[in-house]
């Protein structure tokens, strides 16, 4: 019986007990395959819905379709699976840093369905973030199934995310780097190896089922020095575009957040507006990979004004879709907006200096995509490798690096955190490994409790108290109620020192009279960051911990520093 059960506890096998690297590689393959299958499922169903809805696009009332889709997606998230709207990446990052990657099982499919409804009906959003969330949730739940520990679970969450990106873009390196740069926020070999394996597995599954095709293939580009120099301008423009997109989404979120209607109504409203824009500019609808294709191929015929307008409208449509509560990511919209921006930049250059022989406009579309991705995500490595892989064009690497890094730099000047992490940073929930906030969240009051204080009663005479002072090696004495044992106050030796040497007071003073009743106390579940703030404001070095009205112990900065350092050492050597 025991041996039958033990397959669910592989961490206990002798082979894996001392070193879990092999175990993680095995499970990473499973996670990679499952996550990749989820990505392909979403991709296939999006194609199916798009082709099913295609005939309706010609009818005048087709603009309500995105509205219906968004409303259904919002209803599904709110009523059926009970999850918040949005793209899900911040949730994954938060879960990784706070709960050791623990995620609900339903997260592994909820975003797939809701984003399928939103995007399939024409909403302007991307399928990547939902797939990342599903992949991460799949990794987390597989880890849970095998009863793995937090560190291993985090690695598998990273695996799931990496495999999802790898699979959907057929881009294993981009998947790995996305997972390390954005999801985990640290580069360590312990994580890199399983994530690399999962990326390989995910990509391979996708290649078997979808065929090994480069997402956006293109012609050969000849890039000379002049083109590289003008990339600086493109970087600045893409940075501006990504800041505009970030601000717009936030603005729309605020606008719709105040609307006094149910969530699904808001989503429907946003969706319908997008549908209206789509009537005149069908390029803004859906994930928009088709238009990217055309732009890279250099067959996107419209002129400068139209392209600029399209870029702005896509930004508007995306912020309407996501801000109103539709479900989907910003990856694909970023790529579309980026290629519009690149194209517009190229058209502008041609208008200004018609005599210079610029490289094909498809190249600028590519660079624009990289600029927008790196600006939005503030993850230049992800942008560089993603674009190289999805276009199969290594010859653009030099301008690509320039655009990505410069765009990230400019965005960071204006937006302190990337689009994914903005909300987390604002709430103070971004807990990257080895940071002060992370160490303080990992520790809790229970671990720092000093229980060597001697409690005294309120009706005790000072004379009896002196005997207790003799034995104690602390300067603090909690005063407790005789009957209930409730915490009443503290006696600080510093405060009562003069009385201690005055024998006349010995029988005249009760402890209840000399105790300090206005003490700042902490509860067992209090946040250490807050406790430290209170200590700093009041210039305290230690505070009593009170649980259920009873004194539980003291918490002091000295013990905290001791444990803090140990915690940091343990984290640092992960």
């Amino acid at each position: 019986m025991h041996s039958l059960k033990s397959w669910r506890y592989p961490a206990k096998w002798i082979l894996f007990r001392t070193d879990d690297r092999l175990l993680l590689i095995f499970i990473a393959v499973i996670v990679g395959i499952c996550s990749s299958l989820a990505a392909i499922l979403l991709n296939r169903s999006l194609i199916a819905i798009l082709s099913w809805l295609h005939p309706f696009r010609q009818i005048w009332w087709a603009f309500v379709l995105p509205g219906i889709g968004a409303a259904m997606s919002s209803l599904f998230l709110e009523k059926i699976v009970n999850e918040g709207a949005g793209h899900g990446v911040p949730e994954v990052v938060y879960s990784v840093s706070r709960y050791g990657g623990l995620m609900r099982f339903r997260s592994s499919f909820s975003r797939l369905i809701s984003s399928c409804l939103t995007i399939g009906s024409g909403g302007s959003a991307g399928p990547e973030a939902p797939v990342v969330m599903s992949g991460a949730a799949i990794g987390s739940n597989i880890a849970k199934f095998f009863s793995l520990n937090d560190r291993q679970r985090v690695a598998l969450v990273g695996c799931g995310a990496a495999a999802a990106i790898s699979s959907i873009f057929n881009a294993p390196i981009a998947g790995m780097i996305f997972s390390m740069e954005v999801i985990l926020g640290e580069w360590s070999s312990a994580y890199l190896i399983p994530i690399a394996i999962a990326s390989v597995a995910g990509t391979e599954v996708s290649r078997i089922l979808q065929g090994n095709q480069i997402v956006f293939s293109h012609r050969h580009f000849d890039i000379d020095l002049m083109n590289i120099v003008v990339c600086l301008g493109l970087a600045i423009i893409t940075a501006a575009a990504s800041i505009l997109l970030t601000r717009m989404i936030k603005y729309m979120n605020g606008k719709y957040g105040k609307a006094p209607v149910p969530l699904w109504m808001r989503a429907a409203l946003g969706g319908c507006t997008v549908g209206l824009i789509g009537l005149f500019f069908p390029v803004v609808l859906g994930e928009g990979y088709n238009s990217i294709h055309m732009m890279i191929e250099g067959v996107f015929a419209q002129g400068f004004i139209i392209v600029v307008l399209a870029a702005f409208l896509k930004i508007l449509a995306t912020s309407l879709t996501l801000g109103s509560g539709g479900s989907g990511g910003i990856f694909a919209p970023c790529l579309v907006i980026g290629s519009f921006t690149g194209l517009a930049y190229h058209r502008g250059l041609v208008l200004l200096w018609p005599s210079v022989s610029w490289v094909n406009e498809g190249c600028f579309a590519l660079l624009g995509m990289a600029g927008l991705i790196s600006g939005m995500l503030q993850a230049p490595m992800t942008a560089i490798f993603l674009i190289v892989e999805i276009t199969g064009g290594y010859e653009v690497i030099l301008p690509l690096i320039i655009v990505s890094t410069i765009s990230t730099t400019f965005c960071r000047y204006i937006e302190s955190a990337s689009f994914y992490l903005k909300d987390l940073t604002e709430k103070g929930h971004l807990l990257r490994p080895r940071t002060d906030a992370r160490v303080l969240t990992e520790l809790n009051v229970r671990e720092l409790l000093e229980t060597d204080c001697i409690g005294v009663k309120q009706n005790m005479l000072l004379r009896d108290f002196i005997n207790i002072v003799k034995k104690s090696h602390r300067n603090y004495f909690p005063v407790e109620d005789e009957k209930t044992g409730h915490f009443l106050g503290m006696i600080y030796l510093d405060d009562i020192r003069p009385y201690l040497f005055n024998p006349g007071m010995y029988d005249a003073v009760l402890l209840g009279q000399i105790m300090d009743i206005n003490v700042q106390t902490v509860a067992l579940d209090d946040d250490l960051t807050e406790i430290l703030d209170i200590m700093d404001i009041n210039h305290l070095y230690s505070m009593p911990v009170v649980a259920d009205n009873k004194f539980a112990g003291m918490i002091s900065k000295a013990t905290l520093l001791n444990q803090y350092r140990k915690e940091l050492m343990v984290q640092a050597n992960d």
Binding site: A11, K12, R17, T18, D20, G100, L148, N149, D150, R151, Q152, E442, L443, N444, R446, E447, L448, L449, D464, N467, K470, K471, Q563, R565, K566, M569, V570, Q571, N573, D574
Partner: protein, 229 residues
């Protein structure tokens, strides 16, 4: 190796809560198996060293330190013994006579002790009043390694010790201890006895050894009782 979690926590010198959390988070190379923890000693040791922690398993042959706390007044007084009729008419003379009679010290040590006692007397008199003096060296003698001793010397003739109350001294307690901690403990206990007027009166009768020890034992019981309060 298999150990309970609180034992591991003890050997790592960490709170149990922390060890539990580290195991859950996979930060420490230890596996949970119900109430037990399974680990490989060498790996855990290496892990602890690389993280500035210590992991020490208890050794079976661990010798308990000779209890510093356990050093009490009565054994020290018994060890030092009683010296009656110490002769001399000055501080130097009585100290010389008393030191010569302390049994367990070598001749060299006696000479050194005498010098150190005089040095201490020059600083301030050890006459604490009521005719009692507690001469002691300011620093520990190298020869007194383990056990403290208090030698009680009754003087033949009271001697002027320039004590705090200028009363001539009739009894000296020569206090030798291996450490400051023990010194203070014994001094505090002795002072507790000497605060009692009746005990000083009893000393003036130059009691015999058994009666004296009996009295000290009674005091010690009383001290232990109040300390236990």
């Amino acid at each position: 190796m298999k150990l309970a979690i609180n034992e591991i926590a003890k050997y790592l010198d960490l709170p149990v809560n922390t060890v539990e959390r580290w195991i859950r988070q996979g930060k420490i190379p230890v596996h949970r198996d119900g109430p037990d923890c399974i680990f490989k000693k060498s790996i855990l040791k290496k892990w602890a060293v690389s993280r500035n922690l210590s992991f020490t398993l208890p050794k079976n042959s661990e010798t308990k330190h000779p209890g510093i706390e356990m050093e009490n007044l009565l054994p020290a007084i018994k060890r030092g013994g009683l010296i009656h009729n110490t002769k001399g008419d000055s501080v130097n003379a009585v100290l010389k006579a008393a030191v010569d009679k302390i049994g367990m010290l070598s001749a060299d040590a006696k000479k050194e002790l005498y010098e150190r006692l005089l040095e201490r007397e020059r600083l301030t008199s050890t006459g604490i009043g009521n005719g009692v003096a507690i001469p002691h060296p300011r620093t520990q003698l190298p020869e007194v390694k383990e056990n403290a001793s208090i030698t009680t010397c009754f003087l033949e003739e009271p001697v002027d010790f320039s004590a705090v109350d200028d009363k001539p001294v009739f009894v000296m307690f020569i206090l030798l201890s291996p450490s400051v901690k023990i010194h203070l403990r014994l001094l505090s206990r002795l002072a507790f006895c000497l605060r009692d007027e009746s005990f000083v009166k009893f000393l003036r009768t130059t009691p015999d050894t058994d009666a004296f020890f009996e009295r000290i034992a009674a005091f010690e019981k009383q001290i232990d009782k109040t300390d236990a309060l």
